[in-house]
């Protein structure tokens, strides 16, 4: 019991520190001058993806030994994420092509 609580606590602490670090990394990429725009965008994107993994792992306790429900959740999120992000990129680039 006691040990459980302790490892639980450690997990949250690690998660909090990592999340904060990844957020700061994104801010740094944007606010430090002299970095190429595309490099900064890639860094922000990568930090965001890493942030998702950290929060899943440390806060939502999703791991290799998880249940079927967790798998449902992740797969469905992937499908919808792909639809929303992919759709947006398609729509916006079409608008971009036709409007400039």
């Amino acid at each position: 019991m006691k040990d459980d609580a302790r490892s639980e606590m450690r997990r949250y602490a690690i998660g909090a520190v990592l999340s904060a670090a990844l957020t700061l990394l994104a801010f740094w990429a944007v606010m430090s001058h002299g970095m190429a725009r595309s490099t900064a965008l890639w860094i922000v994107g990568a930090a965001a993806l890493a942030q998702i993994v950290v929060q899943m792992r440390c806060f939502l306790h999703v791991g290799s030994s998880s249940k079927r429900e967790d798998l449902h959740l992740i797969l469905f999120s992937l499908v919808l994420g792909t639809l929303m992000v992919g759709g947006t990129i398609w729509i916006m680039s079409s608008l971009h092509d036709r409007m400039y």
Partner: protein, 691 residues
């Protein structure tokens, strides 16, 4: 510059001083509407004080974490908002018959009316109605004692009520935005809408949207984790299936709304440039993100209505639902496909033809699963012993009207046609045609169906039938002529028009709107009259319709812990099978102690603080915004230290209560379906046919 204490609030913000300066009909309507809010509030406060109801209201309702009470409170909230929404619709229609070359209301006032009407109807009527229905019914149908997170449930309700409160306050203090229910920038940016109106919308929607996301999480987890023993997924009632799909859709759709309103809020309050015309803003991205929520939302509100119709078709035809599996597949298909069609709300925004074609085809495809369902409902009724009572009247009305509305949707899904009729009255006809016969008829049928479960007495059948027919006729008159108006070229959101040919249809529409107001009046009267005659309408044994699912096996109203002993389920329509071949109304082999959530004020505190925060930001009262936010954070932290969150009900107590109920059930004569609406129907059903 804003005042440090009162922000941009001062004494000129109410409509009353405008009325004194300029006593026209236009200002009179605004002042009358603005007086209704404080007068209504005072009336409620006086009534509660006179009857000494403050204590019970606080103890038994506002702080209760019981999913049944929270569901009912969602309904009360939605009912109050619906009263306002429908009256606004009627005011707009009345204005429009006078609007040939002018009209009694100013264009600005008309714009506020359609903006608040649309906002209220979608976010504070349709959404809370279905959330309340799921809240009430789902735990009962799956044999659970409560939802998975009872306190979170309370907080969801609090956040929704906070949003609704902000919209109500905007009637009296300041003005609501005029950008329609979607509030598209750049018109709603600070350049073109500097006043507080759009901020009211942003915070009302931002706050209540978070509440809806949380409600979705709660219901989905409840269905995943709290089903009673033996209830596999494919044994769940169809209403629970539609609720599961709706809840999952809420989890994924509402965050898009939160994001788009948050970005608009950043633009407005902190001078960001997401959606501005200049400096790199892109207002088309707003439409894109908003409708990523907006389209799923229409299926979020209609899927539970489909679920209600499924329960009703089976129960009132005394047959099991036709093709259960295809119902489940169709529901799940809708849930996924509805995330692939959002662009049909902006076909004319300028993207290329291939994009439009793809989304147009996806839109047409989504009509297929709904078509499957309509055939299934009809096949369920086919050769059943159909009782033509209120829920079936709504269902048949839905067949006619909803199919029509759905077909006009398929017409609109063709981008080339949409280019002609978008933003016209054709569209207004279409979406009311799916929202009213779909969502509203479904919820009204569901209210009639589950009301006896919730309160222990039925509603009078006669007035309820009159109400149903008034809704059917009123809707048809108020909206079907608009298809024609749209094809004639009348734009939506028109405060006035110059073509006299539009006038006759406008007259038809106002008659229809009056009938709908009449329907609402009959509904209110019927609640009151049925409560007055509750002795004659009582059905304490709890099964007045010869129901098929678990919620009909328990008394009406149910005990706070719902089930004396958790039922074991080994088929769909478990209660029907139990009545036909099993042992209904028997003692359980053993009883256990039951843990129920304790009451807490979390919902009230967080809801109240959120409303204060939204109000403060709208009026630039920064100290109050910071203070309210601090209260929210502090309340969440304080809650984490509360250790006694549940209270135990002793097994013996449960056993005694169950024995008393069974004695009452065995004393009560069973009635057949011919006497369903007679006073003899005390809720003990004589099963009509085996399974």
């Amino acid at each position: 510059m804003a005042d440090p204490i009162f922000g941009r609030l001062d004494w000129t913000v109410t409509p009353f001083d405008d009325f004194f300066r300029d006593p026209s009909i236009n200002e009179g309507v605004a002042a009358a509407a603005a007086s209704a809010v404080p007068l209504g509030a005072v009336a409620v406060i006086a009534f509660l004080t006179w009857k000494g109801l403050w204590g019970p209201l606080w103890r038994d309702w506002l702080t209760s974490a019981d999913h049944k009470k929270i569901g009912i409170m969602y309904f009360v909230l939605a009912g109050v908002m619906m009263l306002r929404g429908v009256l606004e619709g009627a005011v707009m229609r009345t204005h429009q018959v006078t609007a040939l070359d002018g009209g009694v209301l100013s264009a600005e006032h008309f714009a506020q009316l359609f903006s608040t009407h649309g906002t209220i109807m979608i976010f504070f009527v349709a959404t809370p109605l279905i959330t309340g229905l799921m809240n009430y019914v789902v735990p009962l149908q799956i044999g659970a004692r409560d939802v998975a997170f009872p306190v979170l449930n309370q907080i969801s309700l609090g956040l929704t009520a906070a949003g609704a409160g902000l919209v109500m306050i905007s009637l009296v203090i300041g003005k609501f935005g005029t950008g329609g229910w979607t509030m598209y920038p750049p018109y709603t940016g600070t350049t073109f809408s500097p006043g507080p109106g759009v901020d009211y919308w942003v915070w009302a929607i931002g706050i209540s949207g978070i509440g809806s996301t949380l409600a979705g999480i709660n219901i989905a987890v409840t269905i995943y984790k709290k089903r009673s023993p033996g209830m596999k997924f494919l044994r769940m009632p169809i209403f629970t299936w539609t609720s599961l799909c709706t809840a999952i859709m809420m989890i994924y759709a509402f965050p898009a709304l939160t994001v788009s309103t948050a970005m608009l809020a950043l633009d407005r309050s902190l001078d960001f440039r997401f959606f501005t015309n200049d400096l790199g803003g892109n207002m088309m991205q707003y439409a894109n993100i908003f409708w990523m929520f907006g389209h799923p939302e229409v299926y979020i509100v209609v899927l539970p209505a489909y679920g209600v119709f499924s329960e009703i078709a089976a129960t009132f035809s005394a047959k099991r639902i036709y093709s259960y599996n295809s119902m489940v597949i169709a529901t799940s298909a809708i849930a996924v496909i509805s995330f692939t069609v959002w662009l049909h709300h902006f076909f004319t925004m300028g993207q290329g033809a291939s994009v439009n074609a793809a989304f147009g085809i996806a839109t047409m495809i989504i009509a297929v699963p709904t078509g499957v369902k309509v055939y299934n409902w009809m096949a369920t009724m086919f050769r059943g012993r159909v009782r033509l009572s209120v829920p079936i009247i709504y269902l048949v009305g839905f067949f006619f009207l909803f199919v029509f509305g759905g077909l006009t949707g398929v017409i609109l899904a063709n981008p080339t046609i949409d280019y002609q009729v978008h933003n016209s009255q054709f569209l207004v006809a279409h979406f009311h045609n799916v929202l009213i016969p779909g969502v509203l008829f479904g919820v009204l049928a569901g209210v009639h169906y589950w009301f006896p479960k919730a309160f222990g007495f039925r509603l009078h059948e006669g007035p309820a039938r009159l109400e149903a027919y008034l809704w059917f006729g009123g809707f048809s008159l108020a909206f079907l002529p608009l298809y024609w108006l749209g094809l004639m070229g009348m734009p939506r959101r028109s405060a006035s028009y110059d073509n006299p040919a539009f006038e006759p249809a406008m007259w038809l529409a106002v008659v229809g709107a009056a009938m709908v107001v009449g329907a609402l009046g009959v509904a209110i009267w019927n609640f009151w009259a049925s409560a007055r005659d509750r002795e004659a309408l009582a059905c304490p044994v709890g099964d007045p319709w010869d129901g098929r699912t678990l919620e009909w096996s328990i008394p009406s109203p149910p005990p706070e812990y719902n089930f004396y002993a958790l039922p074991r389920v080994n088929t769909v329509d478990a209660w029907t099978v139990e009545k036909a071949v099993g042992h209904p109304y028997e003692m359980a082999p053993r009883y256990t102690d039951i843990e129920m959530p304790r009451s807490t004020a979390m919902g009230v505190v967080i809801g109240g603080a959120s409303a204060a925060m939204g109000f403060a930001i709208t009026w630039w009262i920064w100290w109050l915004a910071a203070l309210s936010f601090a209260v929210i954070v502090a309340a969440l932290i304080a809650r984490a230290f509360v250790r006694e969150t549940t209270r135990t009900i002793k097994a013996v107590e449960v056993e005694v209560a169950h024995r008393a109920f069974l004695r009452e059930a065995s004393r009560t004569p069973a009635v057949g379906r011919d006497d369903e609406i007679a006073p003899d129907n005390l809720g003990h059903a004589r099963p009509a046919v085996p399974a």
